[in-house]
């Protein structure tokens, strides 16, 4: 197969969103673009899934959302990490490190 799998791995979308919002509040499209840029196009985000995930994270209390103006004078819904969200990010980061390290060790061993 020559087309690399660019769908966001199931279950990592939350982590990517939280990580992206760690630096500054952002709107939905901004988050998608940032995820694509930083992953050099490995991850592509579908707007339906992204906005649903944002809604879910907001309900969970990890994000706060508010409409405000963008730098180029548009109104957009901005998402901001809450304190609970930061804690969740730490948890998920640690969890991800542990799992990816385990997978890496496994691959090396199979060599």
């Amino acid at each position: 197969m020559d087309t690399a799998n660019t769908d966001v791995i199931k279950g990592t979308l939350d982590l990517l969103i939280l990580k992206t919002l760690q630096l500054e509040p952002m709107h939905g499209f901004g988050i998608a673009r940032r995820v694509e840029q930083i992953s050099r196009g490995v991850f592509k985000v579908n707007p339906g899934s992204l906005l649903t995930a944002l809604r879910r994270l907001e309900r969970a209390g990890w994000l706060d959302a508010a409409w405000s103006d963008t730098p180029n004078a548009r109104r957009a819904k901005f998402y901001r990490l809450t304190r609970a969200g930061r804690r969740q990010l730490e948890l998920e980061t640690a969890d991800w490190r542990r799992r990816s390290a385990a997978v890496a060790r496994l691959l090396k061993a199979e060599g």
Binding site: H27, G28, F29, A32, R33, K44, N46, P47, G48, S49, L51, T52, R55, R56, E58, R59, A60, G61, R74, R75, A76, K77, A84
Partner: protein, 881 residues
């Protein structure tokens, strides 16, 4: 997670759906616009940018739907939508809705009432600690014996010698008179062993309970029930105060918690068991014993052990002729064992009624589904998912179930009022039967079960049916098995309805016959007050002189009172009946013909108060009959006819023991005094005015009596006057009950009235269910066979033939059901025989009448679909394909 946020945001979205939707739409639109702008910034033309975004992100509509579908509020909303749709469907079809709700409501309501009884009697734990360890201890019950009673020495020996019980307590239930302020009040006063409360494992709410030391030292201490404390003592600080009980001062040392009762009702006062001197012998079987089994000991093992102990006791006291074994029963079983089989049978019948009600409604739903095939098929073709259709049909059943549970609640309340009266007279203590929380939960559970039972089959059918078939309108004929099953159910419903209708009819005829019996006494404007005297109250003063005469004089002087009297037992009063045997003076009677009569001790004016004629001689007269004049008696007609046939009974003498005799001075006309349905017993009245403390019958006269007062008009204010007169003459004597004489008569018909009402209710339910079941079945068949009808008409069949076709089927089913029902009614007739009076259990008139009623109702139910079938126009029927 933040459940609070989930809840509030969801609710906000529900409350302002449009705003919430708009916000999602705005956000999605913003996303796509920014996406396009970003592509344009990289140098693409507007059209190219649009295409690129479409390739990467899909359609904005799909994204919007995906985001909107998130959140629990969506499930609520679609369910609400389904329910609204279902409500519209039901409103469009009010006949169907009403019938289904009625039938389901009958099933659910009757079931709920039954469940609340089972809950109170068999399921709810008794108000004691570890009630499963408690057992009642008694001697073997011989036939004809009330049973259950032991003596103090027995119970104490058992406690000392038995190994199976950690404790054995005993209690002598009795009535006492409590004086609070100036008022006298009849209460349950139980004299109990000092270890009773510790055996039951219940701590008092206030103060202390009774202690073994109280019993040993014969302390005059008392513990109040919560109801007595809150009610008659108004929750005052009572600890350490004295209460006058049976004329003796007791110190109140404790109050039991709410809900505690032992052994009977909840309004009691407990005092240490203190028998009168010489009355605590082995022969005095007057106490109930209860023991706490040691952990792991079963009642059966305890019984074996206790029987061995009792055998030893019986040998040691051979002269007392004691039983040589004992019976140990689970305590709850000993209380409710007698009603358990009846309740379980009733519960079975009720479950059956519920089940056939559900089946009948399921049949109706299937019929309606058949009529809606095309609609459902169109909606499937337009893209409605099958699960969505099934959900909608279930929503309809849910709505029906909800309405039915409301109807059922009303029915359950009515049925409970009946059942409560039935149980109060049959249960040994005040188990409260009421619509409680577990019962309401039971109602909800039953409703949901009904919904599933009723709605599942149609929902599954709708989900499975292929769209093409429905669109083609082809009547997919139901499988032969399915229709055979439904037909047998309908036949069973008809048979059951016939049995119940026949039973209800027989009981109605019995009630009618009972009402026609001339009672022989008048009940109008007559009030009965049962009196309770403190033990020993009249031991040292002449009752007639100090109580009876002043009280009657005071009552007679009241303007509203016509005449009043006192008698030991009023006609048709239950309990308290005393039978005496006697000999004739100067006449020897063969041994096998031991003469007996019902014993009454009666004041003057008895014939006037009860409207009973004096046939011969005279009744008692205060001027002629005094304690010092010769003893006299008055008998009834039956007595005179049986023992002095063809002779004049006046002047004859009757002996009770040696040298004690009375002379008959009068004969009263017969009245139905012992039972409405039985011929009168021989009755002997002795004169209350002649009762001196030395008299043999004096203890009888001074333990209980009833005051009978005939007022001049409707007896509205009479009860207050009786209380006032009683209070003035003897403030320490309380009336136990005050009831109109009519009520006494009605209570004597109580078991027949209740059985008639219960069976009537069931019969009505069964009739409605059978009719609905038959209608549903035929209507379904007609809906399925529309084309066949059309073809028949096209081939020249008359409308008459079509009607005959449908009615023929109905007649066959009805005939089969009626035949089976008649057979069952004849077979089960014996069960009812004990309740019937002047009606044979296999009364042909009743059977024919109810069969005709059922047949008429069934044919009416069949006529509706038949008429519908005949009205189908030829064109319509053939185009239906």
């Amino acid at each position: 997670m933040s459940p609070w946020r989930q809840l509030t945001r969801g609710l906000r979205a529900l409350a302002r759906r449009r705003t919430a939707d708009q916000e999602v739409a705005d956000e999605v639109q913003d996303y796509f616009e920014q996406s396009v702008a970003a592509h344009r910034a990289r140098g693409l033309s507007p059209a190219e940018a649009q295409r690129a975004v479409q390739r990467e992100c899909g359609s904005p509509d799909a994204a919007r739907e995906q985001v909107r579908a998130y959140g629990w509020e969506n499930a609520v909303e679609s369910t609400a939508g389904d329910l609204r749709f279902a409500a519209r469907q039901l409103r469009r079809n009010p006949g169907f809705a009403l019938t289904s709700v009625l039938v389901l409501g009958l099933g659910v309501g009757v079931g709920t009432a039954m469940f609340s009884v089972l809950d109170a009697v068999l399921l709810r734990p008794l108000p004691y600690s570890h009630p499963e360890q408690l057992a009642s201890l008694s001697f073997p019950i011989t036939p004809g014996d009330i049973g259950g009673s032991v003596s103090g020495p027995d119970a104490r020996d058992w406690q000392r010698r038995s190994r199976s019980f950690s404790q054995i307590a005993y209690c002598g239930p009795n009535l006492g008179i409590l004086q609070i302020g100036g008022e006298a009040l009849t209460v349950e006063n139980d004299g109990c062993s000092g270890n009773l409360f510790s055996t039951l494992g219940v701590e008092p709410a206030l103060g202390r309970g009774l202690l073994p030391s109280d019993q040993a030292s014969k302390a005059k201490v008392a513990v109040l029930s919560d109801a007595l404390w809150r009610g008659d003592f108004q929750g005052r600080d009572v600890l350490g105060r004295t209460a006058k009980l049976n004329g003796v001062d007791y110190m109140i040392v404790g109050v039991m918690p709410a809900g505690f009762s032992f052994p009977y009702g909840a309004t009691g006062i407990w005092t240490p068991y203190a028998p009168p001197p010489g009355e605590d012998q082995r022969g005095d079987l007057m106490l109930g014993a209860i023991g706490r089994l040691r952990p792991g000991v079963s009642p059966a093992r305890a019984q074996a052990e206790l029987s061995a102990v009792q055998a030893t006791i019986a040998r040691e006291h051979a002269s007392d002729h004691l039983a040589d074994s004992a019976v140990v029963r689970d305590y709850r079983d000993s209380l409710v064992g007698k009603v358990r089989p009846a309740l379980e049978a009733l519960a079975g019948a009720v479950a059956l009624v519920w089940l056939i009600a559900c089946v009948a409604v399921a049949g109706l739903l299937l019929t309606r589904l058949a009529a809606r095939r095309r609609e459902l098929a169109v909606r499937t073709a337009l893209g409605a998912s099958r699960s969505r259709l099934a959900r909608q049909l279930l929503a309809e059943s849910l709505l029906l179930g909800g309405l039915a549970s409301v109807a059922g609640l009303g029915l359950a309340a009515a049925a409970l009022a009946l059942l409560r009266r039935f149980l109060v007279s049959r249960l040994p203590f005040g188990m409260t039967v009421a619509l409680s929380t577990p019962v309401l939960l039971g109602l909800v559970g039953l409703t949901l079960a009904s919904v599933v039972l009723v709605g599942l089959a149609p929902a599954l059918l709708a989900a499975r049916a292929p769209a093409q078939e429905g669109l083609a309108g082809g009547a997919a004929t139901p499988g032969a098995n399915q229709s055979r099953l439904r037909e047998s159910l309908v036949v069973a419903e008809i048979a059951l309805a016939l049995v119940l209708l026949a039973s209800a009819g027989l009981l109605l005829r019995t009630l009618y016959a009972l009402r026609q019996v001339p009672l022989g006494f008048a009940t109008q404007h007559l009030v009965i007050a049962q009196l309770q005297f403190p033990p020993g109250r009249f031991d040292h003063q002449d009752m007639a002189r100090s109580f009876d005469r002043p009280l009657l004089a005071r009552l007679d002087a009241l303007p509203g009172v016509e005449v009043a009297t006192i008698t030991s037992v009023v006609p048709l009063e239950r309990g308290n009946t005393m039978t005496g045997s006697f000999e004739f003076v100067g006449r020897s009677v063969p041994n096998d013909q031991c003469p007996q009569g019902d014993l009454r001790i009666t004041g003057p004016d008895y014939p006037a108060v009860f409207g009973i004629a004096v046939e011969r001689g005279r009744f008692f007269d205060a001027r002629l009959d005094t304690p010092t004049s010769p003893k006299v008696m008055v008998v009834n007609h039956t007595f005179a006819a049986r023992y002095f046939p063809g002779q004049n009974p006046i002047g004859q003498q009757i002996a009770f023991g040696k040298k004690k005799f009375a002379t008959i001075i009068g004969v009263l006309a017969d009245a139905h005094e012992s039972a409405i349905a039985a011929p009168p017993h021989p009755v002997m009245h002795f004169d209350l005015a002649q009762m001196a403390p030395s008299d043999d019958f004096y203890p009888l006269a001074t333990s209980f009596a009833s005051l009978a007062v005939r007022s001049r008009g409707p007896s509205a204010g009479v009860e207050a006057s009786i209380r006032a007169a009683l209070h003035a003459v003897a403030p320490d004597i309380a009336p136990r009950h005050m009831v109109p004489m009519r009520q006494v008569v009605a209570d004597a018909m109580g078991s027949q009235t209740l059985a008639a009402q219960l069976l009537g209710m069931f019969a009505l339910a069964a009739l409605v269910i059978a009719v609905v079941g038959l209608y549903g079945l035929l209507a379904y068949a007609v809906a399925q066979r529309t084309r066949e009808m059309g073809v028949r008409m096209a081939l020249g069949a008359e409308r008459r033939d079509i009607v005959r076709l449908v009615l023929g089927r109905a007649a066959w089913l009805l005939g089969l059901g009626l035949a089976l029902g008649l057979a069952a009614a004849l077979a089960s007739a014996r069960l009812l025989a004990a309740y019937l009076y002047r009606v044979p259990a296999r009364d042909p008139l009743t059977l024919v009448a109810v069969a005709l009623l059922l047949a008429a109702a069934g044919l009416w139910a069949a006529y509706l679909p038949a008429r519908h079938a005949a009205r189908v126009s030829l064109v319509e029927a053939l185009r239906a394909e």
